[in-house]
């Protein structure tokens, strides 16, 4: 049986790779190295890269590292024809190579697919995956499980740009 190029690619070692773009960002401070890679099980590298780009168009955070968007691709990396088919359709709509278009044109094609199961699968996965990881917490300024011990001595009331409330409104004076 001849091995199609597509199946060959799907069965070889596929991976998403990248480099942190913001060397002074909150993520760079906690990342072990600037280069990152993420193996893919079902998606091809090209499909993974396209899905990462599509996710960036759906939830655009200009200074958020690709390494965080890659976590969305990881959660989309399951054996299902929905995503490869969607990527193929996107490329067809774009005249062959969606990723080769400029940003505005890329967005136009993503927007046109907004009601499709392909788009909704990416959006509904990303709205969880993109914001539910420690890299995102560092980027957006949320402390997550760091707060498990309580902020009573760690800044729960450290806001200093507004007047302090009166003790009878805030504090342990019995009322």
């Amino acid at each position: 049986m001849p091995i199609s190029r597509r199946n060959f690619l799907r069965n070889s070692k596929n991976v998403l790779i990248g480099t942190l773009a913001f060397s002074n960002g909150a993520i760079a401070l906690i990342a072990p190295s600037r280069a990152w890679s993420m193996p893919l099980n079902s998606l091809t590298s090209a499909e993974g890269e396209t899905l990462l780009k599509v996710t960036r168009h759906i939830f655009p955070h200009d200074t958020l590292e690709d390494a965080v968007y890659a976590l969305v691709v990881r959660d989309l990396d399951v054996a299902s024809p929905l995503l490869p088919d969607g990527v193929r359709e996107l490329n067809q709509l774009a005249g062959g190579n969606w990723a080769g278009l400029d940003e505005t044109e890329q967005f136009r094609h993503v927007e046109a697919m907004a009601k499709t199961p392909f788009f909704e699968k990416i959006r509904s996965t990303a709205v969880v995956s993109l914001y539910n990881n420690e890299l995102a917490f560092a980027h957006f300024g949320y402390e997550g499980a760091i707060g498990d011990g309580g902020y009573v001595n760690a800044g729960f009331d450290d806001l200093d740009w507004l007047p302090d409330p009166k003790p009878e409104d805030s504090g342990i004076n019995p009322r």
Binding site: Y142, G147, D169, P174
Partner: protein, 527 residues
């Protein structure tokens, strides 16, 4: 040692026990109240038994651990039916019920709210009714509830210190002439009753790992078990209630943790499964004698389901806020919790701080949204303050829990369908509340304000309401069903109207009063 390890147990054939279904604010409190009187009580709880050490500082993981995720369906014009079609309510399936998840706000219903029909008059499209009990009747039980729950600013208990989110709301309130403080919270401001003081952890919705927030899991239930008159059976999913030829309930059929059907005989049955499961259970218990379900001769079981008028306002600021640090519900403005029809609606609403972690902010800020507007708001997460608006919603006969026979749970029972249409009064109140919330934040320099639609409901009310006349509701002022003298409703389903206030304190007060009355009735042999 596990809570249930050395507890007294009762035989399945023991028909002298009271069976309480559910272990939350209503069921847990009632069961302890009975056990303290020496009345043998079996609590059947569908969920798992956790300890506070199990609780997670991780929103999605905790949701998977605690939330009631058995299938439900929705219909109606409320936005949740579109955004979260399978998740109309955010309530807990675990020992302790939703007292694990609640934020702790402990407010008394106001005197006029017990007389909603008399005070507001007839409102078209609403099924308003006065409660069969009034404020003065419940007042001593409120006092008792506040003491046992350790509610701040009652019983000489100090208030909680306000967090960053509170400071923003408080400063805005000052500008607008509202009064604002850290409220009446069932969260220890200092160690009390064997429980720690609040450590300002900020994961109130995920279960209080320090036990500073009151929950039946580590108060009422262990107290009841210690008497030797309470047996707690976790992972016991009740399927139906049985009755005899005289129309009295006799037993409760449930599935144990192995999925095996069990039957516990009972002298009295009290249902406290929250306002969706409670009517579902009565409807699923239909027989040839009660073809429309138990206690449903009025046709009111499942009707008048209320979920409070709710909404959130989030605002962004030049300077950081870090609203997620500290108590989730850290402060309250009560000035709008009054009946003032000049505002264009009847009833009132409370303004309370609220915060979500980054994961749930993404999920709930504007469900279904994507693109630059959404990400622009998320980009300002650590500069955001937030509030929850919670007010009285109108009871409507058509807002109701029904059985969806097309969808079955793991035990083959029809699931609940939740139908809800916002009443015009709810919509007018929400608009007013959004405007006031935005004004509070704009008064202290908000860059942008965001209106967030209602979350899956934590305040589920009505659906088996109290009424003076049998034809108007399901149970009387003690929660005893009009039709079946030894069947009681013991949770928020009893509420005749929703009032504006967070309901837990009232559920507890009603349970304390019901326990006392049930004890007398058992002694007198009338049930």
């Amino acid at each position: 040692m596990s809570l249930t390890e050395n507890q007294k147990t009762f035989s399945h054939d023991d028909d002298s026990v009271v069976v309480v279904i559910g272990s939350g604010a209503g069921g847990g409190t009632l069961a302890n109240g009975l056990a303290q009187q020496g009345i043998n009580t079996v609590v059947l709880e569908a969920g798992l038994l956790h300890t506070t050490a199990d609780f997670l500082a991780d929103e999605w993981a905790s949701f998977g651990q605690l939330a009631w995720l058995d299938p439900r369906t929705t219909s109606g014009s409320f936005r949740l039916a579109k955004d979260f079609a399978g998740l109309p309510a955010w309530i807990v399936k675990a020992v302790g019920g939703t007292t694990i998840h609640w934020a702790g706000a402990s407010l008394r219903i106001r005197p006029y709210e017990f007389n909603a029909l008399t005070t507001y008059g007839n409102v078209e499209g609403a099924n308003l009714l006065d409660w069969p009990i009034d404020y003065d009747e419940l007042a001593p039980y409120y006092t008792n509830a506040e003491n046992r729950m350790g509610v701040t600013r009652t019983n000489d208990i100090g208030g909680l210190p306000g967090n960053n989110n509170f400071k923003v709301m408080h400063a805005g309130a000052q500008k607008l002439g509202y009064s604002c403080n850290t409220g009446h919270m069932a969260i220890n401001s200092q160690p009390r009753d064997g429980r720690l003081g609040c450590q300002q952890r900020g994961f109130c919705f995920q279960g209080c790992r320090f036990g500073a927030k009151w929950s039946t899991l580590y108060t009422e239930l262990p107290d009841g078990i210690a008497t030797g008159h309470l047996e707690l059976r976790p992972e016991s999913h009740v399927a139906r209630i049985e009755h005899d030829s005289k129309g009295r309930v006799t037993a409760v059929v449930y599935f144990d943790k192995h999925g095996k059907e069990q039957r516990q005989k009972a002298r009295v049955v009290a249902v406290a499964g929250n306002s969706i499961e409670t009517p579902r259970l009565l409807l699923n218990s239909a027989t040839s004698m009660f073809p429309d379900g138990l206690a449903n001769s009025s046709g009111q079981v499942g009707r008048n389901y209320m979920r409070h008028m709710t909404g959130s306002v989030y605002a962004t600021f030049e300077q950081p806020v870090h609203m997620y640090r500290g108590t989730t519900m850290a402060g309250i403005i009560q000035d709008e919790a009054q009946h003032n029809p000049a505002r264009g609606f009847v009833g009132g609403y409370e303004i309370e701080t609220l915060s979500l972690g980054l994961p749930f902010m993404a999920a709930f800020l504007n469900p279904g949204a994507w693109g630059r507007d959404f990400t622009h708001a998320m980009d300002q997460y650590d500069h955001m303050a937030g509030m929850w608006l919670v007010g009285e919603d109108m009871p409507r006969e058509t807002n109701r829990i029904t059985l969806n026979t097309d969808v079955r749970d793991a035990f083959g029972m029809p699931v609940a369908n939740v139908h809800y249409d916002d009443h015009e009064n709810d919509i007018a109140m929400r608009e007013h509340a959004f405007e006031r919330g935005e004004a509070i934040y704009k008064a202290v320099g908000a860059l942008e304000t965001i209106r967030t639609p209602p979350y899956p409901s934590t305040h589920n009310l009505g659906s088996c309401r109290m009424s003076a006349k049998a034809q108007d509701g399901v149970c009387n002022g003690f929660g005893q069903t009009h039709d079946i003298p030894n069947l009681f409703i013991s949770d928020g389903s009893q509420f005749t109207t929703s009032a504006a206030e967070n309901p837990t304190l009232t559920i507890v007060a009603l349970a304390l009063r019901q326990a006392e009355k049930m004890g007398q009735m058992l002694k007198q042999g009338v049930v």
